[in-house]
């Protein structure tokens, strides 16, 4: 094994790229869960975003159009979830699972025509001379726009939840929907908007996998990224900036195990590739074992449907 082949600066740069899909999806899911809705369909919306983004980007020969289409596709799929859980009051856990199962099937159906096709490349953002700074230039200034966008979205969500009236209402709906309803807020409408945002973010994250990370289409391309995103929301104890931390941690593990595979580590490839999932479980255990933190921060109405009976 040749560890010197791994360049730390390149490693950090690539972990930032690897973290983007989970970060986007987790940020979206955080907003959804803050509104009191548990959408387990992240994996399904991500993979639909992946196939949509790729297909549209190939047809339009533009990655930007692809990303926009992916966000719209993810939101469209989440609309089904919103309709079932908010209007028809279906069980959120079951509906989320249905979304994932349906998304996996439909994506592979749409993706059939696109196997082996390369999407148009997503250009890097040009920072001029900043790019040439040793180490720092590699880490910070040689990425495509989505990497920066994902961090900006976290900042925006943080500011929205913390400083604005809209954020306060969203949290109120998630903490106690009966009280929010009594105050005159439209619980279902607010939740619908949150779900749509979550869908769009998951779609965007999925498109990043098929347009930048891989970049091509294969069945099951997201490989559990949506579930890891759900776990990261718990890891982050529903705080936006911790999502950044969590996503970078998991991006780091993913990139590191890929690098170890390439460097010819003695550990068999299969054991390296299961490591991100095992570490996700481990982190989940550590977070939930701490009785106070996880329990206090989870939105109180998480996963409960609201029905205005009186």
């Amino acid at each position: 094994m040749d560890l010197t082949a791994i360049n730390p600066a390149v490693l950090i740069a690539s972990l930032m790229v690897a973290a983007v899909p989970i970060m986007l999806a987790a940020t979206g899911e955080l907003v959804v869960e803050k509104a009191g809705v548990l959408n387990l369909g992240v994996e399904g919306m991500m993979i639909m975003g992946a196939v949509y983004g790729l297909a549209i980007a190939v047809e339009a020969e533009s990655p930007v159009v692809g990303f926009v289409a992916a966000a719209a596709g993810g939101a469209a799929l989440s609309l089904i979830f919103a309709f079932l859980t908010q209007v028809l009051l279906a069980n959120q856990v079951a509906t989320g699972l249905a979304l994932t199962l349906f998304g996996l099937g439909l994506s592979s159906l749409i993706g059939q025509g696109y196997v082996g096709i390369k999407p148009p490349p997503t250009p890097r953002l040009d920072f001029g001379p900043l790019t040439d700074i040793p180490v720092l230039g590699t880490i910070l200034f040689r990425h495509d726009p989505v990497v920066y966008l994902s961090v900006l979205i976290i900042a925006a969500v943080w500011a929205l939840l913390k400083f604005t009236r809209a954020g306060l209402i969203l949290r109120a709906v998630g903490e106690n929907h009966d009280a929010a309803h009594a105050l005159g807020y439209k619980v279902q409408r607010i939740r619908l908007l949150a779900i749509l945002f979550g869908g769009a973010m998951a779609g965007l994250g999925g498109a990043y996998i098929s347009l930048v990370r891989v970049p091509q289409w294969t069945d099951g391309i997201t490989a559990g990224a949506g579930w890891i995103a759900l776990a990261i929301v718990v890891f982050a104890s529903w705080k936006p900036w911790r999502i950044l931390l969590g996503a970078y941690l998991f991006g780091g593990i993913t990139v590191l195990q890929l690098n170890l595979q390439a460097a010819g580590a003695r550990i068999p490839v299969e054991y390296l590739s299961m490591s991100p999932y095992l570490i996700t479980i481990l982190v989940l255990v550590i977070m939930s074992a701490d009785r106070g933190r996880a329990a206090l921060n989870a939105p109180a109405a998480l996963g409960r449907n609201f029905h205005a009976s009186r």
Binding site: L84, L97, F102, G105, L106, A231, M274, Y277
Partner: protein, 361 residues
């Protein structure tokens, strides 16, 4: 405007009618999807639901397949339904299914080429144990550390898939396989084979186990105190607490039963229809079983029927793939759609739709 009004008790009529309604709605929506794909919707629906059973040319092959596919689905879904009833979400049955196959196959292959008749029962026990162990991980983590069992059991599916690949390429690879991945063929080794018990029916030990599980779970839910506790914990968790139901015990029991049953399904599959441990041994039964459990309304008899119906869509899907060139993924989307429609019409059982104006104040 329509207003939903909660029923005092769920409507018995709609509880039975909604699955049928969901299947009909799915056929309509699926027909639309097939039409978009450029296939004749009526022909596609007929090929999926009618031809496998009644077409003179294909029925002789397809009919036995019905039980072969329904067996593992029912076996897994019965286990899952117990947990789902109690609000315990084991969605990692796919992983438990894989682990059951690995444990069972390993236990048998350790004695290759012995012809001792005790080996098959040992493999069955090892398969159930494998699934049970894999399900105990999320169960113990939930009872000890309150870790979310949905995420843990699901993430363990990916771990099990990696383990499966490593077993097929390494420890369990057939020494006579010429270096190709995959274990020895268990269905061709008389000691470990899980053959068709009655010729032409597709009935193998896994199907027998599925029928036993249906009956056992029916008795458990209707006649046993544990079944009552499971239902109570799901419908009124607070009341269950006061009635002295130990939630942790229920988690361990429900996860354990569903894991063991999924493991059994994997073992019967690897010794019978699949024949060997290979990289792509698992075919999504663990996930489809979730749909089966809901379609059967978490009721043992319902699950039996739902399992048969879902098996039919698998076989019909293969037939449609062969006859009409319908992509195999279309069937997967079709099955997902079924769950959507099921959840959508579910509301009819618990709510009454009233015509009305304005919103509830």
């Amino acid at each position: 405007m329509f207003i939903l009004e909660k029923r005092p008790t769920p409507s018995r009529f709609w509880m039975a009618a909604t699955p049928v309604l969901a299947v009909i709605l799915t056929m309509i929506a699926g027909g639309l999807m097939f039409a978009i794909l450029g296939k004749d919707p009526f022909e596609a629906i007929r090929t999926i639901f009618w031809d496998p059973l009644f077409d003179p040319q294909f029925a002789s092959y397809s009919r036995p397949q019905l039980l072969v596919k329904a067996g593992p689905l029912i076996l897994i879904a019965i286990g899952l339904s117990l947990g789902f009833r109690a609000g315990i979400w084991n969605i990692g049955a796919e992983g438990q299914y894989i682990m059951g196959a690995i444990f069972g196959a390993a236990a048998g292959l350790a004695f290759y080429p012995s012809e001792n008749r005790l080996i098959f029962p040992l493999m069955v026990a090892a398969g159930a144990f494998g699934g049970w162990v894999w399900a105990m991980i999320p169960a113990i983590l939930r009872t000890r550390f309150r870790t979310n069992e949905i995420l843990v059991s699901l993430l363990l599916v990916y771990v099990a898939q990696s383990l499966l690949a490593s077993m097929a390429l390494g420890a369990l690879r057939s020494p006579e396989g010429g270096g190709f991945p995959g274990s020895r063929n268990l269905s061709q080794w008389a000691t470990s084979a899980n053959p068709e018990l009655i010729g032409g029916t597709g009935m193998h030990w896994g199907v027998v186990a599925a029928f036993i599980a249906v009956i056992a779970s029916y008795i458990l839910l209707q006649r046993h105190i544990l079944g009552f506790q499971i239902r109570l914990a799901g419908e009124a968790p607070r009341a269950a607490r006061f009635a002295g139901v130990n939630p942790n015990r229920l988690v361990v029991l429900c996860m354990g039963i569903s894991g063991a049953l999924a493991g059994l399904a994997g073992l019967f599959e690897v010794t019978g229809p699949a024949g060997q441990i290979s990289i792509d041994f698992n075919s999504g039964y663990g996930f489809t079983a979730i749909i089966v459990a809901f379609l059967g309304r978490l009721n043992p008899i319902g699950i039996l029927l739902a399992g048969l119906l879902m098996a039919l869509t698998y076989i019909g899907g293969e037939l449609a793939q062969f006859m009409l060139g319908l992509p195999s993924a279309a069937i997967q989307a079709f099955q997902g759609m079924l769950l959507f429609f099921l959840l959508a019409v579910d509301m009819l059982g618990n709510y009454r739709i009233r015509l009305g104006f304005g919103r509830a104040a």
